[in-house]
Amino acid sequence: MTPTGYFLGHIWLIPLFPLATAALMLLLGRRLSNGAVSVLCVGSVFVAFVHAAGAVLQLLAVDPAHRAVQIILFDWVPAGPMHTSAGQVVQFVADWGLLLDPLSSVMVLVVTGVGFLIHLYSIGYMGHEGGYYRYFGYLNLFMFAMLTLVLANNLLLLFVGWEGVGLCSYLLIGFYFLKKSAADAGKKAFIVNRIGDAGFLLGIFLIASTLGTIRFTNQGLPDPAAYSGILQALEAAVHGGALAYGAPVLTAIGLLLFVGAVGKSAQIPLYVWLPDAMEGPTPVSALIHAATMVTAGVYMVARMNALYQLAPAALEVVAVAGATTAVFAATMGLAQNDIKKVMAYSTISQLGYMFLALGVGAFSAGIFHLMTHAFFKALLFLGSGSVIHALSGEQDMRKMGGLWGRIPVTAKTFLVGTIAIAGIPPLAGFFSKDEILGKAFEHSPVLWVVGFVTAGLTAFYMFRLVNLTFFGASRVAHDVEHHIHESPGTMTVPLVILAALSVVGGWIGWPAALGGGNRFEKFLEPVVAARTVEHAEAAAHGGANEYLLMLASVGVALAGIWLAFQFYLRKPATPEKIAAAAPWLYRLIYNKYYVDEIYDAMFVNRTKDLGTALGVFDAKIVDGLGVDGTGWLARFTSSVSIWWDKWIVDGLVNLTGRLVRMLSYPVRMLQTGVLSSYALLIVLGLLALLGYYGNLMRHLAR
């Protein structure tokens, strides 16, 4: 039974709605009123959400094995025949096609749902800003790119969305382009992402060469047998013996794709752009740099799970990179004073959690955490936006405090989000985080320890933030103090909805150990099912320690919360004492381990130096010595030939002339032009002749 219905037949409309309004905004937006802009842009995302929800419902109507719909709109890049590494000829085609299966269902709902709430929030938040239409134009363009990314049926179209969200991120980070720091941050985000993208592209090339196709699957097409798919090609290659479990080429593909994910999802060593990206408007940070775009790498790895399952070494790298990033970023979050910077490091850390999940083979747990994180992190970012809004733009937590009763809705929803991210049951974060930690423990206790420590750190720095912001004495500047006000309804309603989702959002993944059915995992099962013996075994591994692990993770979270209360409410002097006890450590963390400075010194400035050096080389050597040198040589040879010409060639001619002149000198002496001397000469000649002949005659006569 194949899934059908209006919404399923029109999934291609989902990205098109926001694209249409984006185009309208960017072309004619300046002539529209703010009201019209809001209605059109928020409305289009809502319509997209309705279509997405409708499509997912229609997908749910069929049995799990058939939950896939794929629509190919047209051939996008029909580049012609190519050779695979096995020496076969295939036609390379990247189609413009969309795929809705359980995995993309989750993503498309998160993107349109959370995206809609953030759009709604933006009406209030950005209402006073110039360039309102431009903001919404970019934001809708982002929705188009992100939806293309999650709905793409092949890697190259995914890459379109991938680059598209990067571009929108660039534009929105640099929204306040008059500020140099904002423009710099946008550029940095773009270029760091490009480094990852280069790896991603090479990964796509290697897949195309190895498997002959870049389409994810042929499932859900009206005529599957007529199309190739990575999934099917992998199965055939493994079945036919061409590729084995752990084949080096699969590891290479896995690693190259992961390079792309590291860039987009801000993992070590390419995370440096995300904290700077906080220069953008806060709703942008919520949408792009927390809930959706930065999770694209997680989605992509989950999408390629069939390949990663065959490449255990690559998965191990994913797990280690994720775990390291999780704990590393969490420590950096400890000492930040900018409310959004704390959030940024928290996001990097939580993304590390997701990669840890993927790396230990718990793909559905990774996506589960992606979803719950989208709820509570969007909530937290929007909440901080509301705080910043209330404080007329103040972002430094040292100038906050005591806001609990002044902005009640923001404060309460923020607290809900904080409890959720700390992993306290029964809020959303608990379920997803716990599942990850459980799976990590089965894979390797060391990874579990890292995740466990991170959980404690997370609870600590988040409650540090809450305490500094909402509790204690007010440190707000005087002129700001009397402007403090709760945000308008367009901003608080999204906060309330997201807070509700942060509470109940995890319940669909209620684990079996606590009497639930983990319906989320079952829903994703068709896409991320274990495909190898090894993964099947790992999945079957029982949860003997499950309760113990749950207790431990809740315990460490509570410990973190308790510490935060001790440090920042009870004995506010403690942090300073600790900082004074180990000043170098504090400085190291406060300065984010000097990673930006190291990168600048090692790569950024060296590249610029190389450019300068090559520029000089180009002017002095290639052009100077080479071209101008040739010119000089030509002039030199020509002056040599002129000399030769003048002194040798012409000289010979002149010499001949001179010789002739010299030899003619005596003769010329005779030519005086004086008649009398001629007459004398004639007489003398005559006499000589006569003498000669006289002599001759005398001889003859003899």
Binding site: P78, M82, P224, T607, G611, G615
Partner: protein, 540 residues
């Protein structure tokens, strides 16, 4: 209309020349008449090339619209024209960019208008002739003829160091073409020695070349190589380009980057590839040299861009980098790389042409090209900012814009042969984003720092008219490149079959799932292949 039916290429070729002759007759005193007539013929030149779109058959191998007439019978030179899918695209690019750059000169050129438009139209005819000529002699004549108007365009209407740049451009290119002339004559005589009649006919000679011994082919290859490498320009023969680009008037830079450089890559595809020796080791060595030069050009050009202070110089060096991708694609010898290369040549014409127009817009307002003189222009010129951003993105290879399609296919095709080539190319893509965005930021973002920039007027309708067609094309190629690939499919197949025999004859994929995807192309008869092309399986 018989003339149109049978001599379409001649009509396209000589329309600009007719305009030039007509302009000659217009008295100098009729001031505006020259630029009006120049534009009329610019548009006309484009309009007469449009029937090609309807009449060119993409699915047919070989040359189309062929015309041939006796020219100099004593040496066997004929007037032969014809185009395949590759030259089809380049001809249309030339007529389009010609029209646009003539329009862009409207207010930029204020002195000696008569001579300017005459020379520009002459240049058009010269360039079109290079892409259309199917007779080596005719080809050479056009190749050289085109130098003269360009020399004057730079030397008369250029900026401060125009004379230096013009002479450098002229001498450099001439040095290359002399070697090419020798190579052409060597082909001509050697082919005749092998028993053929004396002819300059390109297809005949290129078929005859296949019988030449490798030792001769190598000499001929390098003979042609220098002419084309200088024109492209490849590292290290590129230094005439920044000077010529910087000093030329805007329209000259557009044509120089958009079309003139493509004559080099076109020459590589048309003449150099068939001259590659048959011996695999020898061929591999030559290809290695050329590819390494291309990769060096990609990275080197991009790095040198970073330190430029002059916008035009920066864009000139970016051309060195971008053209590196094109030559990489040509010499990787796979269908993807080659069709990607041709597409990228078109893309470069669009993107870099537009970038030069953009610098021209600023130059006309401020009479400087120094990056440090600008900053914060987004505020006074928002529409200009939007267009400039789109063009920047197109140039740095943003998906859904043209540059991405070209770079992707080139690098994918190169990856097939050598993974390291693609990896170095990918590094160039990163650097491309860096220098273009940095330039954009320095010119457009931040507060307006110079009082002169505060009141700069935004784009006027004429500037829109020059830029928007290029923006539209950039989107078209990025979103729906299928028609372009269709035009390239046959000629690329023909060339790859010739230089990489058996590529198309390798075993088709047997995966049942992929069965329908392997279209007849895999088994198509090698209609245009050289006679000795044999199925020897795949190269790797």
């Amino acid at each position: 209309m018989g003339l149109f039916e049978n001599h379409l290429l001649s009509v396209i070729l000589f329309t600009p020349l007719a305009g030039a002759i007509l302009l000659l007759l217009v008295p100098r005193a009729w001031d505006d008449a020259h630029r009006i007539l120049g534009n009329v013929f610019g548009v006309l030149g484009f309009v007469v090339s449009l029937p090609l779109l309807a009449r060119f058959h993409a699915g047919v191998a070989g040359y189309q619209f062929k015309e041939s007439a006796e020219w100099i019978p004593s040496i066997g030179a004929r007037y032969t024209l014809g185009i395949d899918g590759i030259s089809f695209l380049l001809v249309l690019l030339t007529t389009l960019l010609g029209m646009i750059s003539i329009l862009s000169s409207w207010s930029a050129i204020q002195s000696r208008k008569k001579e300017y438009y005459i020379l520009f139209l002459l240049l058009q005819t010269g360039m079109l002739g290079v892409f259309m000529a199917l007779d080596f002699f005719l080809f050479y004549v056009f190749w050289e003829v085109m130098l003269v108007p360009m020399y004057f365009l730079i030397g008369v209407w250029g900026s401060e160091r125009r004379l230096y740049a013009a002479i450098k451009f002229f001498l450099y290119t001439l040095a290359g073409s002399v070697l090419m002339l020798l190579a052409i004559l060597a082909v001509y005589f050697n082919a005749a020695k092998a028993g053929a009649p004396y002819t300059f006919d390109v297809p005949t000679l290129l078929a005859a070349v296949q019988q030449f011994p490798d030792s001769l082919k190598v000499w001929l290859f390098w003979g042609f190589f220098f002419a084309f490498a200088i024109k492209v320009p490849m590292f290290p023969f590129h230094t005439w380009l920044p000077d010529a680009h910087t000093e030329a008037p805007t329209a000259g830079s557009v044509i120089l980057a958009g079309v003139l450089l493509k004559m080099g890559t076109y020459g590589f595809i048309r003449f150099s590839l068939p001259l590659l020796p048959a011996d695999p080791a020898l061929r591999a060595r030559i290809i290695h040299i050329v590819i390494v030069l291309s990769l060096v050009g990609i990275i080197y050009g991009a790095l040198v861009c970073m330190m430029q202070k002059d916008m035009k110089r920066l864009i000139a060096y970016s051309s060195v980098s971008h053209l590196g991708f094109c030559t990489l694609g040509i010499f990787a010898l796979t269908p993807h790389a080659l069709s990607g290369s041709v597409l990228q040549q078109i893309n470069h014409g669009i993107s870099t042409g537009a970038l030069f127009l953009i610098v021209g817009v600023l130059y006309e307002r401020r009479h400087t090209r120094l990056i440090s003189e600008f900053g914060g222009l987004s505020t006074p010129m928002p529409n200009f900012a939007a267009v400039y951003l789109i063009i920047t993105l197109s140039s740095l290879g943003m998906p859904l814009l043209n540059g991405f399609i070209g770079e992707f296919t080139i690098l994918r095709g190169a990856f097939e042969v050598n993974k390291a080539w693609a990896a170095w190319g990918a590094l160039g893509v990163i650097l491309g984003a860096a220098y273009l965005l940095w330039l954009f930021q320095r010119v457009m973002f931040g507060p307006v720092t110079k009082p002169e920039n505060e009141k700069l007027p935004d784009l006027n309708w004429r500037e829109y008219a020059t830029l928007l067609p290029l923006v539209a094309l950039a989107f078209w190629i990025g979103i729906y490149p299928k028609p372009f690939f269709r035009y390239l499919e046959k000629p690329v197949q023909e060339i790859v079959e010739r230089v990489n025999p058996g590529y198309y004859k390798a075993e088709p994929a047997k995966l049942p799932a992929a069965a329908a995807e392997t279209q007849p192309a895999a088994t198509a008869p090698a209609s245009g292949a050289a006679p000795e092309a044999q199925p020897i399986g795949t190269a790797r």
